[in-house]
């Protein structure tokens, strides 16, 4: 704890990292294993409503039932929405400033019914539009760590 003087009133400062560990779950783990082994995505189908979720998870929220039918998907999708992030901020994942600008995108992966959020490798507003097709660019297999950054970003292909 440090203290700074601000006129007569003191301010108490806290500036230490707080580490956590989160379980990814069985199907979430399969998602990253599929990327590492086959360089493609995997989703999961709900037998109640027919919806294909990606990433795969154990329960369909609206149906509130267990899911089990994994569905192999490709590595392509379509931009449903995006934004080019242009303001500086501290990334709570790293404690350091996240590099800007970068493009935050919502992508409908081919064969899935919900949206996947990730980074799109294009910050020039004249070259990106809702509806464009994109392809995932993965890390080299040897560098993969079984997390979301095994996908480097999505490239616009058309």
């Amino acid at each position: 704890m440090a203290h700074q003087v601000e006129s007569e009133r003191l301010v108490s400062v806290f500036a230490y990292p707080m580490p956590y560990e989160w379980s990814i779950g069985l199907y979430g783990s399969k998602f990253f294993q599929e990327i590492k082994q086959n360089r493609r995505f995997v989703g999961i189908r709900c037998n109640g409503c027919g919806k294909v979720y990606v990433p795969p998870r154990r329960v369909c929220g609206p149906c509130f039932q267990e899911l089990a039918e994994l569905v192999a998907l490709s590595d392509t999708g379509v931009i449903t929405a995006f934004s080019v992030v242009n303001y500086p901020f501290i990334d709570p994942n790293t404690g350091a400033r996240r590099p800007i600008p970068y493009t935050y995108g919502y992508i409908k992966l081919d064969g899935a019914d919900n949206i996947f959020s990730h980074i799109i490798n294009e910050t020039d507003l004249s070259k990106i539009k809702v509806g464009m097709k994109v392809r995932a660019i993965f890390k080299d297999t040897a560098e993969m760590q079984g997390n979301i950054q095994d996908i480097k970003y999505f490239d616009i292909v058309a």
């Binding site: 979720y53 303001y87 709570p92 935050y104 950054q149």
Partner: protein
């Protein structure tokens, strides 16, 4: 069917970007004292308290106990409710449930935030999924921006169309002595402001404010003795979805949680033509495009008609259904209190205590809360005891 419930007193602090003169608890006490004074009650008259702010913001947990000196909750039934951006509305609705249940006659609802003591963007990032979303997510602005890009693509709305909402709300704030940003902002100013995350510019987005808000709710039979003109709850609806953006957003359908919550609220209130039957709305519009798109989801106009509806002046003061006489979220945003300010300002309109921001002859007022990954609360207050 629960008991009938009304808001009989409201209080709010003034709003600034930084209140180093007080701690959160001291700031809460300012709002509570004002609400009790408005209802001409003392803390001894209060049977129970519901309080909330944003999880992770100031890194203060258990705010129900942290705040007891400010809330007046020492050794009273008190609970914390925290639901992200909707918190203030959900707290008000939880207080409504308390009174409607028949267990408590007079309940205090409190929302607060000291944004100046939080890393707002960092804290909001931690609301997104740690495994899937947090790596690419960068706080409230870009997720809202994605909605704007999808809306512009679908209906051809422009950045100038959206800027009208900012101009409208910031102009309304001039009539509200409690508002944080009380300088007019024009469409041209907004268009010239720095691009934060395309297409959201500095002038399109809400500020970060310090402030607190409190409402006193009372039961039928008690409310009439406290207030000359109680603001009766006609409806309260909560629709919360996912913190996973991929599941909570469907831009072909619109803001589904708002559609569902408002539909439920209209059914509760017996309202069939919202734009005709609601006299004023205090909407949680954290960015300008929401003022075009979400009025479609609430049913003030049809899908894709938001731009025309706003450009025709329907939502301006003096229009068919004035939106945000207080100046709204774009003028004041103490996040855990922001949605309660919508409910409180709607109550002020129903009670006829709005001063320069009062809309004439209000019978029904609608308030909304909006949260994080696109979830919604809706409250309808009325001069008419339901």
């Amino acid at each position: 069917m629960g008991r009938r419930v009304a808001i009989v007193g409201v209080g709010q602090t003034y709003h600034k970007s930084h209140r180093p003169d007080v701690t959160s608890r001291e700031m809460i006490r300012e709002a509570v004292t004002a609400a009790l004074a408005d209802a001409e009650l003392t803390i001894r008259d209060i049977d129970a308290i519901v309080i909330g702010n944003m999880d992770h913001f100031e890194s203060i947990n258990y705010v129900d106990t942290y705040s007891v000196e400010g809330s007046g909750g020492v050794m009273k039934p008190i609970m914390k409710v925290s639901t992200g951006g909707t918190t203030g509305a959900t707290v008000a609705i939880a207080a409504y449930y308390h009174v409607a249940s028949g267990l408590f006659d007079r309940v205090l609802a409190i929302g607060f935030e000291k944004n100046s003591e939080s890393d707002t963007t960092g804290a909001i990032i931690t609301c997104s999924d740690a495994i899937w979303d947090r790596f690419s997510y960068s706080g409230a602005i870009p997720s809202l921006a994605t909605e704007a890009t999808a809306y512009m693509e679908k209906y051809g709305a422009t950045q100038e169309d959206a800027a009208i909402i900012g101009e409208r709300d910031r102009n309304n704030a001039l009539n509200n002595p409690f508002a944080h940003l009380r300088r007019p902002l024009t469409v041209a100013d907004i268009m010239a402001s720095p691009m934060l995350a395309y297409p959201i510019k500095l002038g399109d987005i809400c500020p970060r404010s310090d402030g607190a808000c409190a409402c006193v709710l009372a039961a039928d039979g008690v409310a009439q003795k406290i207030a000359r003109k109680p603001a009766w709850f006609k409806a309260a609806a909560v629709r919360h979805t996912y913190t996973w953006f991929g599941d909570s957003t469907d831009y072909n359908k619109g803001l589904v949680s708002m559609q569902r919550a408002s539909k439920d609220a209209y059914q509760q209130a017996g309202i069939t033509k919202p734009a005709e039957e609601i006299d004023v709305a205090e909407l949680y519009l954290p960015y300008t495009w929401a003022g075009l798109k979400w009025i479609e989801d609430i049913g003030f106009c049809g899908p894709g008609e938001g731009v025309r509806f706003v450009r025709d002046g329907n939502t301006h003061m003096g229009g068919k259904i004035p939106v945000n006489p207080s100046g709204g979220v774009i003028s004041t945003n103490c996040i855990g209190a922001t949605a309660m300010l919508r409910v409180a300002e709607a109550a002020i309109q129903v009670m006829g205590r709005g001063g320069k921001r009062q809309v004439p002859d209000v019978k029904n007022a609608l308030a909304t809360g909006f949260g994080g990954c696109f979830w919604s609360d809706v409250v309808i207050l009325s001069t008419e005891r339901p």
